[in-house]
């Protein structure tokens, strides 16, 4: 298969990160200001989306000059090409996007954009139907291995590299149609379809070990120090939400509120507020 190292497949998580940065962090407030007024969508959604799209494409055009070292910038531009589809994707979610925006959240907007970009990518390279079939076969091979491991009392295999090597050796034995022929090719299917690797949080968790391996930064010590410097309520929220220390088990929200003096939702909101503060304190 020739598309194994294709930007739209193997490097899709990186492209998606750049899309998130461009669409939300760089130009997101422009879109939301034009799209929502007092928590409700405006009537002229098309004009709001067009201005935002032009602004994003303008920045992309600057970055995607022929001298750009990374071809990914140019690959992002066609993803904004289907304007009708983009209007539809945002119009369908407009109420929810504006409601979330009213409480300072951009996740609904990002989910709508992410679905649009993924659909657009699939249309551009036309590979999705075949890849989905191949992924189902890979997933079956993975389940066979897990059953076999369990049978031998070895426990489930959580090591993605070991799993990819096993899948490839089975593919080589069985001649699976359209299947990848390299470890990078097999891994690209996991990155694309396996829920454990497709979201930014999971990517970060999965990649942390490699970063630790190559850096001498004692991040745990730094993090503990920064955590201790947080206001008490935010520190408690992080400790509870991430179970940094053993926590009591509550069967109802009322039990939780009685113990901590706030609802689980308030606790989650506080933890979410603490994360950027910790990042800033750690100079990341």
């Amino acid at each position: 298969m020739q598309d194994e190292r294709d930007l739209y497949r193997v490097q899709w998580p990186t492209l998606r990160r750049h899309l998130h940065h461009l669409c939300l962090e760089r130009h997101g407030s422009m879109l939301l200001d034009a799209l929502c007024a007092s928590g409700k969508p405006v009537c002229d959604l098309q004009t709001a989306v067009d201005s935002w799209r032009q602004s994003v494409l303008g920045e992309l055009a600057q970055r995607a000059r022929p001298t750009a070292a990374w071809p990914g910038w140019a690959a992002l531009m066609p993803l904004f090409g289907d304007s009708e589809h983009l209007y539809r994707a945002l119009a369908q979610q407009a109420d929810a996007i504006c409601q979330a925006d009213a409480s300072g959240k951009t996740d609904v907007l990002w989910n709508a954009l992410k679905e649009y970009f993924t659909a657009c990518r699939d249309k551009l390279d036309g590979a999705r139907p075949t890849r989905l079939q191949v992924w189902r076969r890979i997933d079956r091979i993975r389940h066979e291995l897990q059953r076999q491991q369990q049978h031998q009392g070895l426990g489930e295999c959580y090591d993605l590299a070991e799993l990819a090597a096993h899948v490839l050796s089975v593919i080589e034995q069985r001649t699976v149609k359209d299947a990848p022929t390299t470890v990078e090719g097999v891994l690209s299917y996991f990155y694309e379809f396996d829920r454990a690797y497709t979201e930014p949080y999971d990517e970060e968790l999965h990649g942390l070990e490699a970063v630790e391996e190559l850096t001498s930064n004692d991040w745990q010590r730094d993090l503990t120090r920064c955590l201790a410097a947080l206001p008490v309520d935010l520190r408690q929220a992080v400790e509870v939400c991430f179970t940094l220390c053993p926590q009591p088990v509550f069967h109802t929200d009322a039990e939780f509120s009685k113990h901590y003096g706030c609802s689980p939702r308030t606790m989650r909101d506080r933890a979410a507020r603490a994360l950027p503060l910790l990042r800033e304190a750690m100079d990341l």
């Binding site: 891994l187 990649g207 990042r279």
Partner: protein
């Protein structure tokens, strides 16, 4: 604090990190491969880039996965399994222990004192396991504890002092050992 929980917290902190414009290009594939192979460690500035750029981390993670997968595949083709079947005696005496139940990995535990608190751990790879080596290796137990990690020397050997509170022989009552690509 619980290490896994700290990792989850760190991942959540990094998830919302903004991308720096061209950070990814500053650490290209060739550079990361040299660092992963131990040939040329990353400078302080390059290490910082990994912590501050999601794209650089992502790129590293993909290379790391593919290099480790290639190592597993090379071992698989050579008939080498990562599991080492061994169970320590229930009432161990403090004396050197040799685990040679695996045809390609031999582990030796040397006590450094008479009450078995301090140990040196030694791993030797057979030529068959050493030859296709693309990465360093680590010795871990099935309880998730890392015993040894690093590049093996020219003779296929790796050793280090035991740094954990629980003595290694006690761990061997409960857990089996595995050798994994690093």
């Amino acid at each position: 604090m619980n290490r896994e929980a700290m990792q989850r917290l760190m991942a959540a902190i990094l998830t919302e990190q903004p991308e720096s414009a061209d950070a990814r290009m500053a650490l290209d594939e060739a550079r990361l491969r040299r660092a992963l192979s131990g040939e040329e460690p990353l400078s302080k500035a390059e290490q910082r880039l990994l912590w501050t750029s999601p794209a650089a981390r992502r790129h590293l993670s993909m290379l790391w996965d593919s290099q480790r997968a290639a190592q597993y595949l090379a071992w698989q083709r050579a008939g080498i399994t990562p599991q080492i079947a061994y169970m320590a005696a229930a009432d161990p005496v403090v004396q050197p222990v040799t685990i040679d139940t695996h045809p390609h990995f031999t582990i030796k535990l040397y006590p450094l004192d008479t009450d078995g608190k301090h140990w040196t751990i030694f791993l030797k790879l057979s030529d068959t396991a050493h030859q296709p080596l693309l990465t360093g290796v680590r010795l871990v137990d099935t309880g998730g504890l890392q015993w040894l990690a690093g590049p093996v020397d020219g003779d296929g050997e790796l050793s280090a002092d035991w740094t954990h509170r629980e003595p290694p022989l006690q761990r061997l009552h409960r857990y089996e050992l595995r050798v994994e690509p690093l």
